[in-house]
Symmetry: D2
Subunit: 349 residues, 4 copies
């Protein structure tokens, strides 16, 4: 007798929220019992998202913890930073499993959170409890836990691109420079001049250079892998496209390696993980090649003239960088195959 897990989605009117719905609709072991929005409760979700017409007919619920606890087993909180801080502890205390997509539980050090996010940190006990859900690296810590903090979009692309080389000692951690580019959906559905079509279209722009709140998240994980403190240079840039992140990473190599050496190393590291595709030597991935899917594709270019390696890593920021990885984490928490419900082929072109 098969009973599905009952899931609720808080923040169903953001891009992460509707992407959770898109995948969970086809998940064989999960059933959406409540779609929740603090701002639009009481209206059908298809009013704000007409692509869900006839697919999702239920009204949006409000954020009432007891009601959620009465209906659901697990909650995805696709809420803004600062909201999860207070909400997630209540949900956990009510006995719910939680996968949190905000940045509020990624940094173990509350002081660092307050410095980069300019907001009060969550209580230390919850920060401690949160398992950082970078599935391909920490997936073994996820089984059976009640609470996962889902990685940020930039960190996901960046960390999956750097960790195997860093862990193997192939690159000098003091030399890491990350030039990251994102589609506009990463900025969310809120309106601002920065996301105005006429300002973004036919434009390429940098923002928050060296100041993005994903920097301490990247450094925390790289430091954990390297066994010592890592400090990176990190640039974030907006591309006139909706979906996709490319992280172009530079590091000096500790020795002489070829593209093929790196391909072999990464394929070995990611063996058995369904969502990392290491490209053949001399081939670099483009963002469109993972659109709509949970893949992270990685390629290399060793520069023998400077003894540096350029590592290129791409994801769909809304999927592997948010909703897809969150479902992957749910799968791992529940002890299921990690690609359950996530096997969609990228949509091309």
């Amino acid at each position: 007798m098969n009973s599905k897990i009952k899931v609720a989605i808080i923040g169903s009117t953001g891009y992460g929220g509707v992407e959770l719905i898109r995948f969970l609709q086809h998940h064989p072991q999960a059933e959406i019992v409540s779609v929740i929005s603090s701002s639009s409760s009481g209206t059908p979700i298809s009013e704000g998202f007409p692509h869900l017409t006839d697919i999702m007919v239920q009204d949006l619920d409000g954020v009432v913890v007891e009601e959620i606890a009465a209906k659901a087993d697990l909650v995805f909180t696709a809420t803004p930073s600062g909201v999860s801080t207070k909400l997630v502890p209540q949900l956990l205390d009510a006995g719910l499993k939680v996968v949190d997509l905000s940045g509020d539980f990624r940094l173990k050090d509350g002081a660092s959170y307050e410095q980069w996010y300019k907001k009060p940190a969550a209580p230390a006990s919850y920060l401690e409890q949160a398992v950082y859900g970078l599935a391909e690296v920490y997936g073994d810590r996820a089984a059976g836990v009640p609470f996962i903090s889902n990685p940020g979009c930039y960190p996901t692309a960046t960390l999956l691109g750097l960790i195997p080389a860093l862990k193997a000692g192939l690159i000098d951690h003091r030399s890491i420079i990350i030039d990251a580019k994102s589609g506009v959906s990463g900025a969310g559905r809120g309106t601002s001049l920065m996301t105005h079509f006429a300002e973004i279209n036919e434009n390429f722009k940098a923002y928050k250079v060296n100041k993005h709140q994903h920097i301490p998240e990247i450094e925390q994980v790289l430091g954990d892998v390297a066994g010592e403190q890592v400090t990176v240079t990190f640039t974030t840039q907006l591309v006139p496209m909706t979906r996709g992140i490319m992280s172009t990473m530079y590091a000096t190599m500790n020795g002489s390696y070829t593209d093929q050496d790196l391909v072999d190393l990464y394929r070995e590291y990611y063996k058995g993980r369904p969502f990392v595709r290491v490209r053949n030597a001399g081939v670099w991935p483009a963002t469109k090649e993972v659109t709509g899917s949970n893949y992270c594709d990685i390629g290399f270019a060793v520069d023998t003239r400077t003894n540096r390696v350029t590592i290129i890593s791409v994801i769909d920021n809304v999927v592997k960088g948010a909703a897809g990885q969150a479902i992957q984490n749910m799968n791992l928490m529940m002890g299921w195959e990690e690609n359950l419900g996530l096997g969609l082929t990228p949509i091309y072109p």
Copy 2:
């Protein structure tokens, strides 16, 4: 004991071809046994389409009818007009079922084909045999037949938008004007100045005004529905986007109707058809709301000042306008549920 149907795809290196692969990968009753390309046989399909890396590892086969017949039960021919003319009869004669995505078998009148396509028509017996696969209108003719001619992208959006009103006598067939817009993938993967990014981006342009080869296809079906000859004015225009067709249609009403009358009429007509979504009165669909899915969404705007109705119909040209409808036709031929393997939610944003 369940045995899947074995399918082959000819033209696997075009956009229609890879979209067939995307859906068929998840089809519960079909198995891809051969992906075929006249130009790239012997190389892995992921070389030209890296988004299929690790998903589809087989090499492309060449176009050899006997080999196809030995492997497959059914063939999708996503081949250019003029190629299917000769190829499809051979495939049928070899005992294969065929869903043809070219325009070569849509017009019953070979002379009309030669006039609009400027190419020799297929033999009359095959033209006669072909069932025109506009599923929501002629779906009942598809069960058990060996050969379906899949409708064109513009005709699909246009016909689904016009037929219920025309059939019910609500609109005057002499008054029909169709202003159609398409994303660039409709032009195929071949390179030309017309599809050059720098020429299309930040541009909106008309082409083949009143001369598009989809005109006789639309008129043939409308004439069949109306019971007399129908002549339309038809404009085709290129939008700087990859996927999507909007057909904006104008007609004079034979009487006085409201938006709600049309909504009711269309909902009744399309009752039980999973892929047509008639929007509420006063709501018009946008192309992005069907992207990646097999839906056709329709909305209305009655203009009481002129007694005309504006009908807006949108599809994803690569899905409902090509690969998705082709699979829907396969489902109908085989007597399966028509939405088998096609239930994907649109991807948004």
Copy 3:
């Protein structure tokens, strides 16, 4: 001894405002003495528009009529509808010449304004005084007048495309259907979900079908030309691009004409007008071919099967549809050559 006219621009922080600056910078007879914004006065204009760095270094002024009157001879009011209603009479009363880019003085009938704009109309005496500045049609009324109401973007493209045929009696005014498409800059710089990049990109959508406030403006002018009341069907649609309008127009012909007949008629009608380019028979203009320029390009497709003509007219909505035509009107008011300062070649690609 040559002294330039002193101009002020109210609404300098909108797209129309900065486009006025771009052209006026190079105008041989005009000098910008004040750039004015109600919201950002006291800050450098280049703060909100960094493309003006080092080009326009002055601070934005506030909206103070006496100060404007003390500095300037002529004012461009690139203000929203509802603001010009009150502001323009004050400017005129202070002795300033005014070219108003809002919709507040285009409709002669205040009641019609209130019906379509849902706002109180301007005083009748000012509505009466305003000369409707469709330069190629009413240019001879502009010389020496103090107040011009600049046409809307959609009406400009549409009217220039219809008037010669309507005036010559070639088309039946009861048959006119207008399918119009605009880039997103037409919606202004204000933020809303409708202009969010992720909602517009890869999307084509209709809005305000048969309800756009430019409809009565079009009908007023067509009625004036035809000598009887004209009612049109009018659809507005958003294209995923920043600049450009295409108006695709359909009408039944009163007789039998060829493309060349229309080309000849239009070339004769627009003889000597520098900004209308009538394309050769069989050639249709694309929006990109006028980008950044004050041109309106027009092409035709007679359909002998239905005896309808399709007229395609394109402009850059920010130039010929706003700032460029406003300067053209200033030139005409002042008795100068109408293309003074407006001779820029379109930017391509």
Copy 4:
């Protein structure tokens, strides 16, 4: 009595060619006497470029050196690499002044050219004679010379961004990493899968990583400035937009400097040069802010945590990266003001 210089443009049917026309139309001291194309001679230029309708009515001429020499004083060769190699010496020998926009005369070392361009180099005497026309750096070498080799698009953005800091010894030349991004017009008007709209739109992709032929050009100039050999890491990436280059550059600082130190240094270095705009500390330029203009805008982000500086430099690749800089070089050759005919304000949005 003022007589204009007579100029011819070879390669008038490429994007660089039509952009030369756009600017030269308004140049007070130059007159276009011949527009030349090897492929389309005998047809009106407006046939392939309808935006020039009524503006440029002359037919394209063929490439006949004697005819050019008979008509013109100066030639812009906007020809592909490998063509200029042979053509430019003939033009020079015929007594013409030449500004060459190809890459054929930028590298002083023919062997290096052959290694990176995979084509035979031009004769050494011509390589020697060519003045490298990076106007803001080598402008004083241009006056009176007959032959200028116009810099590449990537090198222009990159070199203007690096040279002042490198020359002042602020950065370690061994640490330079360049992450460059370009709009698609940089690939030219030729058709290929790489420039197909459906492949580029909603995509961000890297190409020729560490292998781009602009690398030796950058290294040659940086080496000249530094006084010793410089080797850089250089990534090229395609952005889904038509125009614009951003070069994001990373270097380790030789000491402790602030953003303001760099702003001051760069403003001093570029004092009196009209086309470089150094942004205030904390402000980074976006590509759209220079579109259609000859500006190069530069901003900085010092990272005190790593003692690196991130330098961001943007240009319009077709203007400052090609046609605009070529005209700037003509101005310098002729001893005119360097911004003659180039004063256009960027077009925004």
